[in-house]
């Protein structure tokens, strides 16, 4: 008890010093530990965006559940949609515990999403018009997500790290599910190969955008805060390069191309040199003005509002008997 009294007598500066020392020692922070406001705010921003992206990310794939080509594919893509929703639930729980001291709940996050204040990943604003898109989402979009999430396994915020350990274990299955669809098409007829090439071409700019704009030597204040607090350890460009190194050779091995005539691997710099996607378009997309943004937000909002009476009824009954 003595130590608790002493701790509460610390000045804000001393608390901050002790906090930074913990971060520097590689210790992890729990939800009930003291933390500076900007640490909490960065975590809320990152984790609520991640959680909502999982939920919005299930929507493009869900479109393919009724149209999957075989029963096994249907079962697998349903399992994946279910997993993504589960990841959203895990992450929203982590975000809610961070929001609690601010007097906010999941309801606030949903309203922020509907009002386009809470953003979600650019890739989930895009169309998925063919079965090959479902394959490319599983293979490359999940592949990109695995790269970001694996980097974050080391995050200084313990509840986020524990959620990510569960998520990454399932993502491995998702990536293999996507690879299996892609290989089937790549080894198939000319028509199937053409469909797959079109999907790769269509997704290429979105995949480059997924990791966020390159730093070009100047790291944004968001990024430097995140790195100082060890919320994340790698920059956007480092993550993008890791993605390109892993996946570009595989695209070429299958005999496919990406819509970038000048792309090459610079051996000396040990990195891929590629044409930048349209970063102005990226800003518009994540603001909620992408090709499918309105449709999917509308779907989410309709589902949320039309089921409100169910939640209300359950709570009224639960309070009564529970």
């Amino acid at each position: 008890m003595q130590t608790q009294l002493e701790r509460s007598n610390l000045t804000e500066n001393e608390k901050m010093e002790a906090f930074l020392a913990r971060i520097d020692r590689g210790e992890k922070i729990e939800a009930d530990d003291w933390m500076p406001d900007d640490y909490r705010n960065q975590l809320i921003k990152l984790i609520s965006m991640h959680g909502i992206s999982e939920i919005m990310g299930a929507l493009p794939e869900k479109e393919w559940v009724p149209k999957a080509p075989t029963l096994r594919r249907k079962l697998a893509i349903m399992a994946k949609v279910q997993d993504e929703m589960g990841h959203g639930q895990l992450l929203l729980r982590v975000a809610e515990d961070l929001l609690a001291p601010l007097g906010k709940t999941r309801e606030d996050l949903m309203q922020d999403l509907f009002a386009k204040r809470l953003k979600f990943h650019n890739v989930f604003h895009m169309e998925a018009p063919t079965w090959a898109d479902a394959g490319v989402i599983g293979w490359l979009v999940d592949g990109a997500a695995i790269i970001t999430q694996s980097m974050s396994l080391d995050t200084s915020y313990a509840p986020y790290a524990r959620a990510l350990h569960r998520i990454c274990a399932e993502e491995k299955f998702h990536a293999q599910h996507g690879e299996s669809i892609v290989l089937e098409l790549a080894e198939g007829t000319e028509e199937q190969r053409k469909m797959l090439q079109e999907a790769i071409t269509r997704w290429w700019p979105s995949l480059l955008m997924f990791f966020g704009p390159p730093e070009n030597g100047t790291i944004t204040s968001n990024q430097s805060t995140n790195m100082r607090y060890k919320i994340r350890t790698q920059t956007n460009e480092e993550l993008r390069q890791a993605f390109l190194k892993k996946y570009l050779p595989r695209i070429f091995h299958l005999g496919f191309t990406v819509p970038d005539d000048t792309i090459y691997f610079d051996e000396a710099k040990d990195q891929w040199v590629y044409q930048q996607p349209d970063w102005e378009a990226f800003k518009e997309i994540v603001k909620g003005n992408g090709p499918r943004s309105a449709h999917r937000l509308n779907l989410r909002e309709t589902s949320y509002t039309e089921t409100k009476w169910v939640r209300d009824a359950i709570m009224a009954y639960g309070r009564h008997v529970g």
Binding site: K28, A76, A161, R162, E179, S180, L183, A186, R250, F252
Partner: protein
């Protein structure tokens, strides 16, 4: 849990279930149960009873009354039929060999192109 009722007569001590976490990334694991008059004593006793040697990162004690669980009759329904390979990586065991095949085909073509030019 109904099991609790017989022990409430036990000097009115309560049954607490003890969970501990080995490291920051680990899940909480059930250790055992103990009798205690309140949660503070339960927490102190949890350390003494079950964590005298093992290192430990965190401990929870939960009053058994607050745990809602399956009845013995319901438990058999948890059993799963082994028909979910589409949900597991073991259902995708052929992928590595297929990727290797495509890489070798690509490399052979590259070599041919080089020796041809």
């Amino acid at each position: 849990m109904d099991m609790n009722k017989e022990t409430e007569a036990n000097n009115n001590f309560f049954i607490y279930e003890v969970f501990s976490q080995k490291s920051v990334n680990a899940s909480f694991v059930h250790q055992f149960s103990l009798l205690a008059p309140n949660k503070e004593v339960a927490l102190a006793m949890a350390r003494e009873n079950f964590l005298r040697r093992e290192s430990c990162f965190n401990i929870w004690v939960v009053k058994r009354d607050d745990i809602y669980s399956l009845s013995p009759e319901e438990r058999p329904f948890l059993e799963r039929i082994d028909n979910k390979s589409y949900r597991e990586t073991k259902g995708y065991g052929d992928l590595q060999a297929r990727w290797r095949y495509h890489r070798e085909q690509y490399e052979a073509k590259q070599k041919q192109a080089e020796s041809g030019s």
